[in-house]
């Protein structure tokens, strides 16, 4: 337990100092909200403004995109050529993996927690107690994407392949989840297929928390996300290969 805590704190410090984490999880969402909000300003009514809509749907999308950041974090030791020291130290594989998952979870959660309250303050969303369930959603999503990212990161040597492959399903899920445009409002076919994306369920839970003061969806979705994240941790542990953990090259990252 002490070793896990030690490793988690170390990895967390690295994540919080990492420009990759800050850039993708703090700066990028802000730009997305401002840009999409501005471009679609006239398409939204009085109840929900375009800025409010994108402030809510952009954060889950960016958390999902953090799979790439978590995969990168899993490869950090290999790129720094220090992975060997972790493998020869009296630290178990499970501890290494869980430290990576937990450190990424905390780092992502902190970024999006700050971002959400920044958005609330800027766009003057009316506060209600059900909002307190939104951080729970962020935490469960962060845990899930960290688990998936760690699993994928430790299963592949080449980070660029991971990055390129992951962008496709994440983009598709985000499109279906209404992260770029509320496609569910277009026709009944779209209204059906959007439910194939987990982002739809998450976004709906968020909207219910913010505008309908209903937390049931948020709690159920969070529990489900935690459960799937835990399963991904188990799969990641089973499929862990020391060779993949030890070696990896990232162009432009040489010491």
């Amino acid at each position: 337990m002490k070793q896990l805590l030690n490793l988690t704190c170390f990895f967390l410090k690295r994540r919080l100092k990492d420009g990759f984490t800050i850039g993708y999880n703090l700066i990028f969402p802000v730009i997305m909200v401002l840009l999409l909000g501005y471009l679609t300003n006239r398409n939204f009514g009085d109840i929900v403004s375009s800025y409010q809509y994108y402030a809510i749907v952009t954060i889950p999308f960016c958390i999902l995109m953090s799979i790439t950041t978590a995969a990168y974090a899993a490869k950090d030791c290999a790129y720094q050529k220090t992975a060997m020291r972790f493998v020869i130290a009296p630290v178990s594989t499970t501890q290494i993996l869980m430290a990576n998952v937990l450190s990424c979870t905390i780092a992502f959660f902190l970024c999006y927690f700050v971002l959400f309250f920044g958005v609330v303050w800027i766009y003057r969303l009316a506060f209600s107690m059900t909002w307190l369930y939104i951080p729970l959603l962020y935490l469960s999503m962060s845990f899930l994407v960290s688990a998936i990212g760690t699993w994928i990161g430790n299963g592949m040597k080449d980070f660029l392949i991971i990055k390129n492959i992951m962008n496709i399903p994440v983009g598709l899920l985000a499109f279906l989840g209404g992260c770029f445009y509320p496609i569910g409002s277009m026709n009944h076919i779209f209204r059906f297929i959007i439910h194939l994306s987990p982002l739809t369920w998450i976004n709906q839970a968020m909207f219910r928390c913010v505008f309908s003061e209903s937390e049931t969806n948020a709690v159920l979705t969070s529990m489900l996300l935690f459960l799937v994240g835990f399963v991904c941790c188990l799969i990641g542990r089973r499929s862990f290969r020391k060779e993949e953990f030890l070696y990896g090259e990232l162009p432009g990252y040489e010491k």
Partner: protein, 255 residues
Amino acid sequence: MEELLKVEQLVKAYGEKRVLDHMDFSLFKGEILGFLGPNGAGKSTTVKCMTDIEQFDEGAVYYHSKRLTDAKSFLAFKKELGVVPQEIAIYMDLSAYENVSFFCSLYGYCGKNLKERVKNALTYTGLWEHRKELPSKFSGGMQRRLNIACAIAHSPRILIMDEPTVGIDPQSRNHILNTIRQLNEEGTTVIYISHYMEEIDAICDRVIIADHGVLIEEGGTKELKRKYADQGYEKLEDIFLHLTGEALRDEEGAS
């Protein structure tokens, strides 16, 4: 002499290619064992199998006559093991002190005890004055010494050094060799892997020579010189070339 570690009939193959073919040797308490072999001889693979980085196909490793069979027994063994990898395995964006401190903490040390150990390791390697500096600003020799400091801070009983003096100036090399002698005098048993015969001759009590994954010779340095003197081979390098051949090796190491 007390047998500390025994490598018994290790076999390891990558596909069709056998890189270790019944590798068999012992390490005795308090000695410095030189491990020689041309590229592709199986030196690094032997170390990886001994330290549980790679799994071997056949054979066994014993520590204090107890067979290391599972992750748990290897974890206990790793607490008493220090490895200086061939590649420099340190974080370039952390100070020398932070590097040694973190890697030592993986062995369960904390607080005052940890600070003392870090200080000792950095003093041993002549880096205490540079403890606050980033390794990226260090010379090659200083980085090598920091690589060693990270491996000795937890006072291992067995220290495996894989070509620790590659590409450094004679002053740094001399300092490293003196450090190894001093560590050995204080009770650390050392396995020293190198291509530099004069280093092996200067610090090792006993030598094992491997080629094509097989142990082909072993004995005390003086004993070997006496044995081969009749055949006109007086230096360790001559004996090595006689045993392994003078033909150029294009074979890549397994690492």
